[in-house]
């Protein structure tokens, strides 16, 4: 188990190094940040002076080596736009995005698991059919539209929740629902399909024959095995939410990392983009590591190396 963990850790580190090279190169393909930072009438000597100040006059490979060396020491450079350390900006925004993604993921699972289980138990019944329609509706509605709909209902008409911002538990409710809505459909299908397989298995039939209550059979014994495919996907969903929260963050004025990085991308603020993407990559790697480790908790055969 320890060897497996070390191997995965090394793979994760190599993934981050790869991501750093890709993001470093791609950001520079977008064009010269200096012309966006200066007024349009800035003369060439002013443009050149700023380019030299930012180190953009150096060959690309030297720029990368300087960036990588500094990054290993925790220095991601200063934001071109915000005139502050890019790392501070990212770390300041990251908790908000992690919170939003975590609550969104929890919401999607809280909806998907009961729906998936009930759909499987009542295969072909009205719950199953409703679940399919519900899942389809979830995938058909883009999250910005869900967000605006929620604002209209719960902020404007009912006045139950704040329309924007962060800072209290109430603020996270609507953004989390908007962000978590989309994966509900896929998660429901995964749970339903896994439950159908498990419910047909020998040990469940055996359980029934010895008089184990149906509730325990379904929610305790069957769900535990059926959860493995969902857990496998959790890391992917979480990473997708981290990376895909931008639209929801804009709609709800949520002060998260996604909004910061996308705005930085449009402004060619390379240090912020690099720091943000690398942190997102690191989160992705960590989330997948945690998922791998969690198999052992759910399935003792993995824990004991069987």
């Amino acid at each position: 188990m320890l060897g497996y963990f070390a191997r995965r850790l090394l793979q994760g580190f190599m993934s981050i190094v790869g991501a750093s090279i890709v993001i470093f190169t791609i950001t520079r393909l977008t064009g010269d940040p200096v012309v966006l930072m200066l007024p349009p009438e800035a003369p060439p000597d002013v443009i050149d002076a700023l380019r030299i100040k930012l180190g953009l006059d150096l060959p690309l490979w030297r720029q990368y080596l300087i960036f990588a060396g500094d990054a290993l020491q925790g220095d991601f450079g200063r934001s071109y736009r915000w005139e502050m350390p890019a790392l501070d900006l990212v770390l300041d925004r990251l908790p908000a995005t992690i919170l939003l993604s975590a609550v969104a993921l929890a919401f999607s699972m809280a909806v998907a698991i009961p729906f998936g289980v009930l759909s499987a138990v009542n295969r072909g019944g009205w719950v199953d059919r409703f679940g399919k329609v519900f899942a389809m509706a979830g995938q058909a509605m883009p999250n910005f539209w869900v967000g605006l709909l929620l604002i209209l209902i719960f902020a404007i008409h009912l006045d139950w929740l704040p329309a924007y911002g962060a800072g209290t538990p109430a603020h996270v409710v609507m953004p989390a629902i908007a962000l978590g809505w989309y994966p509900v459909a896929a998660q429901t299908r995964i749970v339903r399909s896994a439950m159908l397989d498990v419910l047909d298995s020998d040990y469940i039939r055996m359980g029934r024959s010895v008089g184990t209550p149906e509730f325990s059979l379904v929610w305790k014994y069957a769900l535990r095995n059926a959860a493995i495919p969902l857990i496998t996907m959790l890391g992917v969903y979480f990473a997708a939410m981290l990376g895909g929260s931008f639209v929801v963050e804009v709609v709800f004025a949520w002060p998260g990392l996604g909004r910061t990085v996308v705005e930085a991308l449009f402004a060619r603020d390379f240090p912020v983009v690099q720091a943000g993407v690398l942190f997102a990559a690191a989160m992705f790697v960590v989330a997948n590591l945690l998922v791998d480790l969690s198999y052992g908790i759910v399935d003792p055969r993995i824990r004991h190396g069987r």
Binding site: G31, K53, W82, I151, A253, P255
Partner: protein, 526 residues
């Protein structure tokens, strides 16, 4: 007895509902406003975009500013004049006595000298070229200084004497980073706190020098809400009392709300369509073709239908700007004449060309506006090979430089703000004067060399006498209009603010450039 687990759930539910209902609660002495965009810096020497000025303008002030009617008024300058010493221009400034910074330090000439030193330093400022013609900053006494110029610099005067009051002693005490984190100026609002991408909190400066024009509410909370619909929703729910940039399509809906007041003002930006005359075989080198473009699109209809009326048509310079000439009339929409002009130019069947459309919403509905304009051109025979461009890509094809690829002929939706109230000098240097490599002229220009026009633009930049300069600018405007050079001018976007009329007393004051510095805002008195 409640199980502890359920107790926790109950507590969370109470917290949720409590915070939800307290979210809209405000004390009587504060107002919450929502802006769509956010400043990247609080240091006036480092501002780079117009949005920075919204925020900086609440805390910092300049020597001269526009008043609510758009007229220039002395502000931190008690008086100023342009003199001539040894054949060189000198701006002589006397500072208003009794002005203090938010920490109580008096404002002196040394603070302006410090601001000048920072503004001219390319390691600090984005605008060092604006100080290029200043040879010397001379302090006469604490409230009197002179700026000595190497040559006439009309833009220095047009741009409100450039300098911001920056507290030298405080800055040197705390350092650059701390100053940007906790700025102090002489303005009506003093800094309390800031959370990037969330809010800026300001308190009214009790010892503010201007007893006639100042805010009357104790605290101003500036929220950042970029999404239009969310900003309007926050206003409708009462979370905010004042909002910026009501989207054009929603103005009617907002105006219909109870106890809501709105005001529309020009945004400070000037939009136009430029025609690339630089390729040798460009059809736009022919005056008839440029005139055909001018006659070929119904700009008034576009403003009315695409912009919901949120645009002010202008011809070269807008009403209220320096050198505004009401006698200059826009080309009327006349497609038959446009087609005849194309035929006269040798294009009886029209021609195909690239049409570059800026789609980043730096102004409302700008993408749709471009699409409508280019559709009009197609109707007269100028068939567009449409290229939609995000802002960065738009800069790439638009900016003139020897080492970057250029647009390959065609028409480009373009903008270059003259500011509020407005002066076209800087903009015309950039997009009317032809491109001169290495010298800064024509950095976004697509006119083919027109020596007479170039000379006129260069000359007007050195004229510091306001009347003489206005006359010269008007002459350029007339010629520019007649020759359709430097682009076909279209409209200045309008920005609409909304506030609770039963709660908020608000007078829109323009700051140099824009309208959002809350010089006069307060709670409505019963």
């Amino acid at each position: 007895m409640v199980h502890p687990r359920w107790g926790a759930v109950l507590a969370l539910a109470v917290a949720f509902s409590g915070t939800a209902f307290s979210a809209s609660a405000q004390t009587k002495s504060s107002l919450t406003v929502a802006l769509a965009a956010e400043s990247t810096t609080m240091d006036p020497a480092k501002y780079s975009a117009g949005v920075d000025q919204y925020y900086i303008g609440t805390m910092f002030e300049q020597l001269v500013r526009p008043g609510p009617d758009g007229e220039r008024m002395n502000w931190l300058a008690e008086s100023w004049e342009v003199l001539e010493v040894d054949g060189k221009p000198v701006i002589d400034v006397k500072i208003r006595p009794g002005v203090t910074f938010h920490n109580g330090d008096p404002l002196t000439a040394a603070d302006f000298e410090f601001a000048y030193e920072r503004l001219r330093d390319p390691a600090v400022s984005r605008w060092p070229h604006y100080q290029a013609n200043v040879a010397q900053f001379e302090i006469v006494d604490d409230l009197h200084f002179k700026l000595h110029f190497t040559q006439g610099d009309a833009n220095y005067v047009a741009n409100w004497l450039q300098l911001w009051a920056i507290p030298k002693a405080y800055f040197e005490e705390v350092g650059e980073d701390e100053f940007a984190q906790r700025p102090i100026g002489t303005g009506p609002w003093k800094f309390v706190s800031r959370s990037v991408k969330e809010e800026l909190v300001l308190d009214r400066y009790e010892a503010y020098w201007n007893e006639e024009h100042h805010p009357t509410v104790d605290r101003l909370i500036v929220k950042i809400i970029p999404e239009d619909l969310t900003r309007v929703a926050a206003f409708r729910t009462g979370d905010v009392d004042w909002i910026d940039s009501v989207p054009p399509a929603m103005i009617e809906e907002v105006e219909a709300l109870d106890n809501v007041a709105t005001a529309s003002r020009v945004s400070g930006n000037n939009l136009f369509f430029d025609m690339d005359m630089t390729p040798e075989d460009s059809p736009f080198r022919k005056l008839e073709v440029r005139q055909a473009v001018a006659y070929g699109a119904d700009i008034d209809a576009i403003i009315e239908q695409v912009l919901f009326g949120q645009g002010q048509r202008y011809v070269q310079v807008g009403p209220g700007e320096t050198a505004y000439d009401p006698e200059l009339k826009p080309y009327p929409y006349d497609p038959a004449k446009a087609m005849q002009l194309l035929a006269d130019a040798g294009y009886p069947n029209g021609f195909e060309t690239n049409c570059y459309n800026l789609i980043t919403p730096r102004e409302p509905n700008i993408k749709e506006m471009g699409e409508a304009f280019f559709a009009y051109l197609s109707a007269i025979g100028i068939r567009c090979n449409m290229k939609n461009l995000e802002y960065g890509a738009w800069i790439n094809v638009n900016r003139r430089a020897e080492d970057t690829p250029q647009m390959e002929g065609g028409i480009l939706s373009h903008m270059w703000g003259h500011g509020v109230p407005g002066d076209p000098g800087t903009a015309w240097s950039g997009h009317l004067h032809s491109f001169v490599p290495g010298e800064g002229w024509g950095s976004y220009s697509h006119t083919a060399g027109h020596p007479e026009m170039d000379e006129m633009v260069e000359a007007v930049n050195t004229i510091m006498d306001p009347d003489e300069r206005e006359a010269a600018l008007k002459e350029i405007a007339r010629k520019k209009h007649e020759l359709v050079l430097g682009g076909l001018t279209t409209y200045r976007p309008l920005v609409t603010f909304a506030w609770r009329a039963d709660k908020v007393e608000y007078t829109p004051w323009p700051h140099p450039g824009f309208w959002r510095n809350f010089q006069e805002i307060g709670l409505k008195q019963d």
